[in-house]
Symmetry: C2
Subunit: 332 residues, 2 copies
């Protein structure tokens, strides 16, 4: 049996372009004690991956010549481990490849339920996506009914769920996204109260018109100019949640800090950062509630899936160019 994998052949200097990656096909090794083999069905494409390609930093790093780190779901096709049977669906660090061979302790068995495709475990139920959105809204942002609540990268996997959960909690949700396809989807399909197209509109002017007294909350996935525009329009005692900063991941050595941060002092406002793994005790509740909402249809996670492992580098670039709507995955 062969495995086809995407390896990092050159560290990106700015944008992670497809020429930084090579696709290799090799026969798989024999299964060692404690290992299982997984047929990868979906590979998650994540903004955070960019920070793992630098060779240094806070996040786990991809080695040069190593397979690109990525979460995935699939089914066990060979097992040396009792209790991990062939056919079991699993989620884990399967990486950007067609067949993953790894120690069973890294894998989490998942339920293959009717009405819930395995891809949902990377999107609406994924740790860095749906669970991040749930924890960010319920444990950090905590929007109150009637709050004017802004979400950036609102058509992304985290943002579109964060906005839907904030709406469930009674907030008036303002989504910032790029391009008509995304803003129309957010307003018409997901019921966002207001949408701002940062590619064609001035965020600050729109916010001043929607929220003359300022916005009460902001869930930021973008950083840079978007963060500054919202900071400049905070209401008194507003709360800003820092979830991510996709505009900065290309140049983590020289992040542009929010020049409007002194609005925090002027408006007695807060900025709080988090990652879902800071709240391990909340993950089961988050997952259970997200699953019930998915099954009753009260939330939607749009998915975009590129087919073919060789398209993983293209998918990563597509994400950084703001192309995808909802959860982006590769189906090897």
């Amino acid at each position: 049996m062969d495995n086809t994998r995407v390896v990092l052949s050159k560290r990106p200097e700015a944008e992670a372009t497809p020429d930084c990656f090579t696709v290799l096909t090799e026969p798989v090794a024999d299964l060692a004690e404690g290992q299982v083999r997984v047929d990868v069905e979906y590979i998650s494409v994540d903004a955070g991956t960019r920070t793992m390609l630098r060779g240094e930093g806070f996040h786990q790093q991809v080695e040069l010549g190593g397979t690109v780190l990525a979460g995935g779901v699939g089914k066990i096709i060979e097992s040396n481990v009792e209790g991990m049977t062939v056919g079991q669906a699993v989620r884990g660090p399967l990486c950007a490849q067609t067949v993953a061979t790894l120690n069973a302790e890294y894998l989490e068995p998942i339920e293959d339920l009717p009405g819930l495709p395995l891809s949902a475990y990377l999107g609406a139920l994924g740790g860095s996506t749906g669970v991040t959105a749930w924890i960010g809204i319920r444990e950090v942002s905590k929007p109150q009914p009637g709050d004017l609540f802004v979400v950036s990268a609102a058509a992304g996997a985290v943002g579109c769920l964060a906005g839907q959960i904030a709406k469930k909690d009674g907030a008036i949700v303002i989504g910032i996204a790029g391009g008509n396809r995304k803003t129309t989807y957010l307003q018409d399909q997901l019921g966002f109260d207001h949408v701002i197209d940062y590619k064609s509109e001035d965020i600050g002017q729109r916010l001043k018109s929607i929220a003359p007294e300022g916005v009460n909350g902001f869930f930021d996935n973008v950083g840079g100019a978007v963060l500054d525009a919202v900071l400049d329009n905070l209401a008194l005692r507003a709360k800003v949640t820092i979830c991510g900063a996709i505009s900065q991941y290309d140049h983590m050595d020289a992040v542009t800090g929010p020049s409007m941060y002194l609005r925090l002092a002027e408006r007695q406002a807060q900025m709080e950062g988090f990652a879902f793994f800071h709240f391990p005790e909340k993950i089961p509740a988050a997952t259970a509630e997200l699953k019930s909402w998915l099954l009753d249809g009260s939330i939607t996670m749009p998915e975009e899936i590129l087919e073919g492992i060789e398209r993983y580098p293209e998918a990563l670039q597509f994400m950084f160019n703001g192309g995808n709507l909802g959860k982006l995955m590769v189906k090897p």
Copy 2:
């Protein structure tokens, strides 16, 4: 009777240098209905004044040709208002001048107590100094016993009190200040646990050595590189309080935001801003406790006083060059 006042004759482009100001002497006008006349004893010199010289922005602005706005204390020498008697000590927006003529409703009568010079009402008991430090520590930072707690501009009027109050509350206090005179004073006279001289030491390296697991709290008055160095050394769930940003007041149109702000997400940390006037209900308690600490000698506010109204521009420049230790005032 003549009044000598400092007027803004040119808006500063960067640093507020003495050539931006003119000193004028003119006879005072007759007292109108509702007015009192005050002999100004002390004029407060504040970092925040710089933001009032721009001609636009969040803060109240000084007009070109207008008297520089400043808080002051003095005694009533003439009164058209019942209940405001000659000899009464008052505090208010007396501005940078020798004799203030203004409506009585802007003035707050203060007690002229033995052991408490009137200058204390601008320093340890001042709204933007002692009261700001008390509210910032007690209502925003809330350091816990044993916390490693950093204060920047620690030898300034706000910083030196913030550090002393944090120590009263059980924190291990690390002061950042510039130059041997200040760091020695903080350590020897005020009992700060650690001091870092930003002019001769690398803040990040010193913090890594004092607090290998990171610091739990930070009370920032400086911004810029100092803020970034501390953000880079936050412990999990640390809290950063934004009180001021003296490094940025010269160029409020192009504030350098903290490029290390993503540490907030990595460390699940918070940044919260405030001004003392956001907590009007806490001012009486803050003032009463500060007054009792001053009288029992358990806190100290160093004061530096330049004599002569014509020295106000020089005093402002001295503050921005980091010259003063404690509260800086002009005695006209």
